[in-house]
Amino acid sequence: MSTLPDGWFMVVGLEVHTELRTETKLFCGCANAFGDQPNTNICPVCLGLPGALPVLNQRAVEYAIRIGLALHCVIQDSSFHRKNYFYPDMPKDFQISQYDIPINGPGYLDLPGGVRIGIERAHLEEDTGKTTHLGGTGRIHGSDESLVDYNRSGVPLVEIVSCPDIRSAAQARAYAAELRSILIASGASDGRMEEGSMRVDANVSVRRGEDQPFGTRCEIKNLNSLRSVQRAVEYEALRQIALLEDGGTVRQETRHWDEDAGKTHTLRTKEEAYDYRYFPEPDLVPVTPTQAFIDTVRTGLAPMPAERRAALVSLLGEPNDAQIDQLLAVVEQGLDHFVITAVNAGVNAPLALTRTANELAASDRSLDNLDAEAIAATLLLEQAGDLSATQSKAVLAEVIAHGGGDPKAIAKSKGFEHMADGALDLVIDEVIAAHPDEWERFCGGDEKLQGFFTGKIMAATKGQADGKAVSAGLRARKN
């Protein structure tokens, strides 16, 4: 599956930051809310004003443990450190993070294909403010002025660091996708990459053999979508290989992914790297979750994606490749309960899966409050032959648009009446009788006229007729 030149191998590790879905920030009671008016959720703690003291959010600890358990991590006693650097998005001039003892120690994540990627750690830390660069071309290097909104400053984050176990760009994408599904399933994060609530950095290196030591790595920042993760990792590995094949050497550095240009460029070299001077945060005491608390969190965890995929597989029996792709997508997008509700209502599993994977997944509307029973009822009508596939999709679109509804009423309002037995036969006979010349040519072997007759019959039935039944009716009369 590698797309690298012969003899070259890549080694990738990902660092994923995810914001937690708490009501408040990590160390103060300001609202943790995306999209509010700038600088409305700020206080002395998250502005780093002198004398302000942090107090840890209990729910953030619980959510961090949920993530740790979902990733099979060791949950351990931990403490906080100060990570010192000067940058205007961090008003204290240090970020409170976890250093030598993170709340979640080693664990692992199994990719849908079966490959196991090690997790080194998953620790708690606070997010920074949001900086907007103005002036010049609007890009970072051309800016004259930067504007800072501290609403995000202090929002709880968990940083999940993988082991360098990833071996291809596609695998990097698969890891990020599976991790995102797990985070959403845990309820700890919404996984919205487009809103920046999940952010990915990639450490990429290359080597000339799978048994060779790791090469010098570069860290790629600004990966804001699953697609960016795959493209950037691929680009960076190829860049390093081209450099080495030309006799050059890879410099350890931090690079920025430019999605539009499809390239990475140097942000800072190792010599310019920050020296964070970590030291223990004196204002926070250790966190020591009891085994009873950890067990309670574990018991409350919703089923993880792997278990949910297995549930769909068992509904389908022996899914084919297309169905496996569909069920991966359905679970990744958190839509599997629509399939299960429909199957429980009596819809056959392949139909429930394919309509969910296509009609629902393709919708640009929020499906958070969509009534699964209404979807199931629509599919039951289709399965019973009361709606053709085309009509069923039209009714589904209405149900999705309104978050629910009575599919029978929707079908009626669209003129999708159930055709009485024999009604289709009558229409077919009428259409043939009205077009004797065309019928003669069709019977004489002009297959193009099949479409002509189908169109006439569909028009006469206002699209109610089932395409397969029309085709069968025409063939039966032709012979």
Binding site: C30, Q37, L56, E145, V148, Y274, R277
Partner: protein
């Protein structure tokens, strides 16, 4: 700065620059002496056999100081921004930044 490497003026200049402090030559010399004495004190402790002792995560005998996840009022934005040196579009305005945040 291990005990095998005595603290010198270059170490002090580096630490000062990391903390964005500008020191005169006199200050570098003075602080080199002061910091060396602090490190000497630490070295006395480092010389002890502490193998049987658990590391101290915090001097207070407290753990799990937590608060409920309940929203409290934030500060008034106008009050806060009125104290900033420069404001634009309800945000803090700062000189241009080269490069991304760490």
């Amino acid at each position: 700065m291990s005990s095998t490497h005595p603290l010198d003026a270059n170490d002090v200049i580096k630490v000062a620059s990391l903390a964005r402090l500008s020191l005169s030559d006199d200050e570098v010399e003075r602080f080199t002496g002061q910091l060396a004495r602090i490190l000497d004190s630490a070295a006395e402790i480092a010389a002890l056999d502490l193998g049987g002792l658990a590391p101290t995560a915090h001097p207070l005998a407290l753990v799990n100081v937590l608060r409920d996840d309940v929203v409290r009022d934030s500060l008034d934005r106008d009050d806060v921004l009125s104290q900033a040196p420069s404001v634009n579009d309800n945000r803090f305005s700062v000189p241009k930044i080269i490069g991304d945040a760490p």
